[in-house]
Subunit: 761 residues, 2 copies
């Protein structure tokens, strides 16, 4: 870029580092309010059952118990992300649909008493037949898990572009493969916690880890039958979200209900098991992909059918059903493509939004492409370059791609990883693989798509920024500060942030769908520009200059070209105050997209205003005796538009390799006994540690998106996706067998080696 920045594009330490390192930062579970009670939730011991009767009288009589609630205490308002998916009770009255579902709750003077009271609640359940497999669930002739969803099909997304029959008929090579994957999990560092308090005027204050305060307040107000403005979702530190802190939680509602009934503040802190089972997880997938290519490896037709295990409720089902396809169609050119995505209800915990929606879907696409490439004798990197999306093109469903550095990502990753020297030339049991992907920079839905920011100058020349943006840990707070300080010529510690509070901060989509830097960053930048213009109007008079000739840097407003003709920023601020024209600014930005809430079911037109692209190459070594995989080196290249803070972008890349590749493809999955999760805790669910990680090469590609703030787009997620694909490809390359069931655990690898060995004999 031509313009010289002071802070933007620099490796600036995060503004919130100190409090995180010292432990001063407060999470919801750290909150202590006077007279606060401990809340605990009684959960279903069955995966599917009718609730016949709940007797709370023994629990209520226990000393120290201040409130007991059941479905009878609710207004019966059902929750759903979309108007047409409102199928979940926060506290069901009639039926439970998964093991661990909420049945009742207690608030007591301490946790021990609350737990004791839970045991005193007598629940009379009538067990119903349960189904745990999506294919079986579809075959069921009823009774269905939700009466109004025949064959337990929750969502069906059908996309049909071009003429796939023609495409297949023109193909010189066609493959059809099926890929399966278990559930993946977020495993946030912080188990869910919520604190609720009512004041005498009937206002509810509520704190919880949440990726979108404004997305929480509305359903809470509906369910509690309170005016929205009386529900005040407050800012509190968040220990990781990954998609799992976006949707409202039954715990939020139950906590508020207990606070209202007891007349005292209530805190609910989830156990690790509850955080696993009752928060959401990623969908388990069965994906059949049929792809036809020409002799050069160009994809001529693709037909995909995907079955997703959605668990017991809709949650974000429509999004989860379309997004895996959308990521794929963004990354790969295709004229003829058909997609049938089915989300199926089962009696398992609810699956929802997760970073890397359909990771295994993408892995299938790439693994199959490698198999096609091998049959055609084409190098996988060349295969991808021939099919890679280019800027200026439209996706099959009609999104214009304004910027795209995918080819550059592939080429740079190949160069840095030594692909040409390594592919096909590595020693035995070593493998190298590539994955590419693309992610939306926000797919805003309805009224909460845009972000707004307000700036006020304080009398000392510093500013306060009021923004709805939320920071889940990725550094959004820092991003806001960096942008505002840059535009106003301030140092970062002169920017005070007020964020993520529904009472004081304006609209924002939340830290959801990778939109924050794009919408929230643009809004903050525009607010700063607005304030700067007001400063310039004041300074222009004092300097007898044209406001358009003024510049602002290092706390001085000066005439461009005449750095000696200046007034200090602080002086201009004070002049504004004395003249009765206080300096403030407002900015707002809403991504330019076509869709509405109906869009997710039938994608057409502009999905996102910008798209990020990533290519990851992984090199691994497999121990043929144990099936253990050691990742040696991972090269992650992403077009994030422009790196506002390369240090944070690289942090995203590295976390993405850990989550998507190292954890997602090697060790992380849930195992089940019917509807019961067998590995809900850290002991059994294996999240990679720092010592597990390979060497990572970070490559930032900057395509400068025309609409992004300073050209910035989403950063990190297309690495999380493509890292999974690269690991899968590298392992398959190392053992000479393409595994089709994810993640690729030692057992599966050993079994594949064994089978191959037997075949060869």
């Amino acid at each position: 870029m031509e313009k010289e920045f002071s802070l933007i594009g620099k490796r600036v330490p995060r503004v919130d580092s100190l409090s995180r390192v010292t432990g001063d930062v407060q999470f919801a579970a750290d909150l202590k309010l006077p007279r606060m009670l401990a809340g605990k939730i009684k959960r279903s011991p069955l995966a599917h059952a009718r609730i016949l009767h709940i007797d709370t009288s023994r629990a209520e009589r226990l000393k120290g118990v201040k409130a007991v609630v059941t479905g009878q205490d609710t207004a019966g308002v059902k929750w759903g992300v979309f108007r047409y998916t409102q199928d979940m009770d926060f506290l069901p009255r009639d039926k439970v649909r998964y093991f661990g579902e909420e049945i009742a709750a207690v608030a007591a003077v301490d946790e021990e008493t609350a737990l004791e009271a839970l045991d005193l609640i007598d629940v009379d359940l009538e067990e119903l037949p349960a189904v745990y497999d999506p294919i079986e669930a579809m075959a069921s002739e009823g009774p269905w898990i939700h009466e109004n969803y025949p064959n337990n099909v929750n969502v069906h997304v059908n996309i049909d572009v071009g003429d796939i029959e023609k495409g297949f008929s023109e193909s010189s090579l066609i493959r059809e493969d099926t890929f399966t994957a278990a559930e993946d999990d977020y495993f946030m560092g912080e188990p869910y916690a919520v604190v609720a308090r009512f004041d005498d005027d009937g206002n509810l204050e509520i704190w919880m880890p949440n990726a979108g305060p404004h997305m929480k307040s509305k359903p809470l107000s509906n369910a509690l039958q309170m005016p929205l403005h009386k529900v005040k979702v407050r800012k509190i530190a968040i220990g990781g979200a990954f998609g799992g802190r976006s949707e409202i939680s039954p715990a939020d509602y139950i906590c508020a209900l207990l606070a209202r009934k007891s007349g005292r503040p209530v805190r609910i802190v989830y156990t690790r098991e509850e955080n696993t089972v009752n928060v959401r997880m990623g969908h388990a997938l069965i994906t059949t992909i049929k792809t036809g290519v020409d002799r050069e490896g160009k994809v001529l037709a693709r037909d995909i059918t995907c079955y997703m295990d959605g668990g017991a409720y809709s949650s974000t089902g429509p999004i989860a059903t379309s997004v895996p396809f959308l990521c794929m169609e963004q990354a790969y050119r295709m004229d003829n493509v058909r997609y049938n995505g089915y989300r199926i209800f089962t009696n398992k915990p609810i699956r929802g939004m997760i970073r890397m929606h359909g990771r295994s879907f993408a892995c299938g696409i790439d693994l199959q492409l490698d198999m096609l490439a091998e049959e055609l004798g084409i190098d996988p990197v060349t295969m991808r370059l021939r099919n890679a999306r280019q800027a200026g093109e439209y996706t099959p469903t009609g999104s214009y791609v304004s910027s795209c550095g995918l080819t550059e990502c592939i080429e740079k990753a190949a160069l840095k990883s030594g692909w040409r020297e390594k592919y096909g030339k590595l020693p035995p049991w070593r493998g190298i693989g590539i994955g590419i992907n693309s992610v939306q920079t926000g797919f805003p839905l309805g009224i909460r798509g845009g972000s707004q920011a307000i700036i006020k100058f304080n009398e000392d020349g510093g500013v306060t920024l009021i923004s709805g943006v939320v920071d889940n840990g990725q550094g959004n707070d820092n991003m806001l500060v960096q942008v505002v300080a840059e535009e106003l010529g301030l140092s970062m510690d002169e920017v005070t942030l007020i964020t993520a509070d529904t009472e004081v901060t304006p609209n924002d989509p939340g830290s959801y769908s990778m939109v924050t830097t794009f919408a929230g960053g643009n809004a903050a930048r525009l607010a700063a520009v607005d304030a700067r213009n007001k400063l310039f109007a004041i300074a222009a008079k004092a300097l007898e200059a044209n406001p358009r000739d003024l510049m602002l840097k290092d706390k001085k407003i000066f005439v461009a070209g005449s750095p000696d003709r200046f007034i200090p920023l602080k002086k201009a601020v004070r002049m504004g105050l004395i003249q009765g024209s206080p300096v403030s600014g407002e900015g707002h930005y809403a991504p330019k997209v076509d869709h509405t809430r109906e869009w997710v079911k039938n994608p057409q037109g502009q999905l996102s205003e910008a798209f990020s692209f990533g290519a990851t190459i992984a090199e691994v070594e497999v121990d043929p005796e144990t099936g253990m995989v050691k990742a040696l080196e991972v090269t992650a290249a992403q077009d994030c538009g422009f790196a506002l803070n390369p240090m944070l972008v690289e942090g995203q890349f590295e976390g993405s390799v850990a989550m998507g590749g190292q954890g997602g493809m090697l060790t992380e999955y849930h195992s089940w006994d019917g509807g019961r999760c067998l590995n809900p805790t850290q002991l059994e669910y294996k999240v990679p540690l720092a010592c597990d990680m390979p060497r990572i090469n970070n490559i930032i590609v900057e395509s400068l998106d025309p609409a992004g703030p300073y050209g910035a787009k989403e950063a990190g997620m297309s690495i999380a996706m493509s890292a999974a694909q690269a690991y899968a490809a590298a392992i398959s390359n190392a053992i000479g067998v393409t595994l089709t069931d994810f993640p690729m655990t030692p057992e599966k690898i050993l079994k594949a080696i064994e089978e191959k060995h037997q075949e060869q004999r």
Copy 2:
């Protein structure tokens, strides 16, 4: 007014009534923070002394003591309201100047330990000669209380307008009288309390009853040597201010210092004695007034000399020295006038801003006018009508009076009270008297003169208002809500307030100098109008109408004259969000005045943009045996421009009669033993109770000031002033002697009756 209002001008119950009535409201002393310590202050046992040595080692060793601070822990930054009056240490190092001044402080795990530790601090003081009388202090040849103020004269304000010698020479009657008055006190319901907490990033959060958060944060940041944006003064309920919660308190600084040193939150709660002695009080006054009038009673010349006992430090000395004169010159026409006001240092507690600055000064003016009237055979009401200020005139120091209903106030009060039937015709020991006065509607100083407000619409169609305005108990919060709800066609509970927090709210003068409705109300109104214009722009498109033809009422935006062509307000708000144009608004208002910080020492030009005027008539009965006064009926008429909420305005009138008349002229004063206040508690300082109050007739006069919001100006204070005058006049009328020493206690009344009796014999 032509326009029909929904809420403005209506008797609307206050938005904060419920929490006040139920006790849910939190004052600073109610705040409990985890690990909070109790702070206590060691105070000087001498009225004037040099600090030789302070040994804190014994206190520090006491178990439970977490921090001890003395002047040695401070940066030595001196405090003064003005740059030229910075003469006070929050914790002195060298010298103490009044009995009770801060010497050291302790933070300990509980109050008992803190008190015990205070006794273990060894203070070595060298007593200095002290002076307690302003006249003696002026006569002193040194050493002076402050070395740089010769003869202990702190402030001298000299105003000389016209030609008083000529005026006197043309007068047909001249009187010269001297009036004296003891200190008056605020006696807030809530003793001062402050809570301070530092976070790990070095930010200070601080809560205290304060009339102007932005006026507190700056001196705190100076004294603590911290950037302003790290000092966050938070909102907390306030139990009365009356001028005594405007200035920064040493307790604020000491509490922050203890919190910093101990690393824990600290709370200091004043005893009632501390709240009396260490908060400020009103000045004691000695006023000599020489007035010349013509045969019709028109004042031709006035020469006034006033000595004010300022106590040990400057505080708001320059304001206190000029304001009594300014109130007088606003109410009464005068061509030729001279004023010499002296504020004198003594070794007594500090006197500062107080509602009714110079109440006794005004009483002198009015009592003397009555004596002149009597000599001329003119009725006191007629006397006042002949000298009363009229709209369109300039005051002697040059303020244009844009609106003035004083004549109407006098006439209506006279009519309602039955003046013509009663004056001179009442039975023995009954009396009736009138006082008139005028008050500024704000005299904004420097950068904190203007107010700014920001409005954001929430998705449910309600709004959040962000404003720096503070509510001391008079109903400012309600005023803001009423104004915003009116302009946006909302009900009051749809307006959420964020106020009085230096981090989030923009500039505001504070609830000081009667400016809040004028500046803060105008700013809120303009912000609402700005937001409404944005709503109209959105609605105009939808309605295919001109935005200028639109109206907003009862949550509907409709085309004027076609009430059926409308869209619901909420829909327009949601359309804005969907279109990426969220509806918000900004408004600011700074009263148009001439002066700067130097102004108070040399008043010239426009002092305030608007002035309120009041006339009070009191009827009393004196018991000649005991000297006790019983107020029978008080008629209070004030021109407040426009009564935004008549219920609150009348509440102000009634409180004003209690404070100014019943308490201020009958029972409230401090008595002294040298520098030691003898009546610091409720037991000895007699504040009137509800059962003491007379029947009050409230008369609201509305002159519709062109600049005030809806025409509104200050409400209440010119009743507080004129009630004192009316009581004084009524008592003098009842006993046939004009008392010249205030307040008029039974002893003084009995003595006057006795002396008159002896004279007559």
